[in-house]
């Protein structure tokens, strides 16, 4: 392979001193995660830099557009969140995609720390820790926690997981949208209640307010598969979104009548749902489902799975006794 390095000219070229501009990598990292930006070499980089400097000079503007300063402050590792919590939201092993935070608030003798976060077009996830870890967690049926962006938009809490022994929690909210999605979101988490899992103590009132800045990870809208039929039902795939960590499939069912999506097949135990969706990863293993939301009245089903690798995924939609639809989703 190195036979073309024998000539003096080749050796000189191979060792030609070309110093890398020190500002190159910081510029790249500052501009990272621009999911919606289309490529193209900038023709006037110096002018762009000057404009960026002017923009940054305005404090108020930078408050509402925190993406660049935040991206530079990202830390690569998240050493405080344990594996099971991250696995439950499909983020285990993806520490490079999690933004680490260091905010903390103390109230009523409890310290709530905002450890890290992750956001993409499908979901927003925050990682918390409550100290002391005495089986008190910041969940409280979802009523005591709010998350808002810098424009005052409130993100709906979708769910969460807690390790009551360590005080660590993962809360999942709806995705950041609107201007905060493109500018980077300056989030405020407010909590008013700690729920006690110990039976001897009631919920504890307090006031915990935490702030963090996060940018959306990359995402891609894929072409939905073609429609299919399950008995009398027509299944239309309305949205397929792939992010770096997850795959979301949304479908609309027509013609099944009331209760079609919640029909239960008796099996001498508790029964099992007749309608189901399963996804297989490119290596043939079942993909881990993260969330499934079913609106029987509207005929809507929205499921999010862990995206494990690039490749062709196999999606199977079944209605027991009625039929099966199989489609492929190419994420390469």
């Amino acid at each position: 392979m190195n036979d073309d390095l024998r000539s003096p000219l080749a050796r000189r070229l191979a060792t030609l001193e070309i110093p890398v501009p020190p500002e190159l990598v910081p510029r790249v990292m500052a501009a990272r995660r621009p999911a919606a930006r289309v490529g193209g070499v900038r023709l006037v980089p110096r002018l762009s830099a000057a404009v960026a400097l002017v923009v940054l000079a305005f404090g108020a503007a930078s408050y509402f557009a925190p993406r660049f300063s935040q991206a530079l402050a990202d830390a690569p590792l998240l050493g405080n969140a344990t594996g099971p919590l991250l696995r439950s939201v499909g983020l285990a092993g993806l520490d490079g995609r999690i933004t680490t935070f260091s905010g903390a608030a103390v109230s009523s003798g409890y310290r709530v720390e905002l450890i890290g976060g992750y956001a993409d077009a499908i979901r927003t996830i925050v990682l918390l820790r409550v100290q002391p870890a005495d089986r008190s967690v910041l969940l409280s049926n979802g009523t005591g926690v709010t998350l808002t962006d810098q424009f005052g938009r409130r993100l709906e809490l979708k769910g969460g997981v807690a390790d009551e022994q360590t005080g660590q929690e993962v809360l999942e909210f709806e995705p950041i949208t609107g201007p905060a999605a493109s500018l980077g979101a300056r989030l405020t988490l407010q909590a008013a209640t700690l729920t006690a899992f110990a039976a001897t103590r009631d919920g504890l009132q307090g006031d915990w307010e935490l702030h963090a800045t996060i940018a959306l990870d990359e995402s891609r809208a894929l072409t939905p598969p073609g429609l299919g039929r399950l008995g009398t039902m027509t299944v239309m795939f309305t949205r397929v979104t792939a992010t770096a960590t997850a795959l979301e499939v949304q479908l609309h069912v027509q013609g099944g009548g009331p209760g079609a999506l919640s029909r239960v097949i008796p099996d001498a135990l508790k029964g099992h749902p007749a309608f189901s969706m399963h996804l297989w990863a490119p290596d043939g293993t079942p993909a881990q489902a993260l969330t499934t939301r079913v609106d029987d009245a509207l005929g809507l089903v929205d499921t999010v799975w862990v995206r494990s690798a690039a490749g062709v995924y196999r999606l199977v939609v079944s209605d027991e006794g009625m039929g099966t639809i199989e489609r492929t989703i190419d994420i390469s």
């Binding site: 073309d4 003096p8 070309i18 769910g159 009551e164 690039a310």
Partner: protein, 204 residues
């Protein structure tokens, strides 16, 4: 894993107990897996080689910076698409880098037919005497040599930049620009001959 359309179901999930587990940082990562490729590692490993390539194909330093930045940004955006079963990180990344340079007008798109013709023509003639070449090169500054590379035709400076700037082997060069390894080897040799001829002409 967990399934809740309503936030009220959180309480049930939260009652699960987890045993302590390893921290994320304790898991060693295979550098060839997509999971190990982060924006930081991509820049750390490849920024210098991407810039060396860009410096050789660009007209000047500012354009070189722009091409390198655009190429790295594209690489970061496409990190999730890297599939180790389809080739090495180098091949994947430098396809992106070459495309970025092409979009900047610094890499020709009509490369394949030419390379195939070059392959058909066989190997290049014998090189000039190495001692003479060494003496001639000694009179050239780095800047003058870089300028000479930049004056090559797009297809020639591309393979020179991939071979000597990005330090790719012939297989990776071929993968980046759509050639077989052997065709890439011949293309590099022909480009070197062209550069050598150009330098000799300018010295006369």
């Amino acid at each position: 894993m967990y399934d809740f359309g309503r936030a009220e179901r959180i309480q049930n999930v939260a009652t699960r107990r987890f045993r302590p587990d390893l921290h994320l940082g304790a898991h060693p990562l295979n550098p060839d897996t997509p999971e190990a490729l982060t924006p930081e590692t991509l820049c750390e490993r490849y920024a210098e080689r991407v810039y060396r390539f860009s410096a050789m194909v660009a007209r000047h330093e500012i354009e070189a910076e722009d091409i390198a930045q655009e190429a790295l940004e594209r690489g970061i955006r496409k990190l999730g698409q890297f599939d180790p079963r389809r080739g090495t990180v180098e091949s994947w990344l430098f396809r992106i880098v070459t495309n970025a340079a092409r979009d900047a007008g610094r890499v020709t798109s009509r490369r394949l037919a030419l390379w195939q013709r070059l392959v058909a023509q066989g190997t290049a003639p014998e090189r000039a005497d190495d001692d003479v070449e060494v003496r001639a090169l000694a009179r050239l500054s780095n800047r003058e040599l870089l300028a000479a590379v930049r004056r090559l035709r797009p297809r020639e400076r591309t393979v020179v930049a991939l071979r000597f700037g990005a330090d790719l082997d012939h297989a990776s060069i071929g993968a980046a620009i759509g050639l077989s390894p052997n065709a890439a080897r011949v293309a590099v040799r022909r480009a070197l001959d062209r550069l050598r001829d150009q330098l000799q002409e300018e010295n006369q």
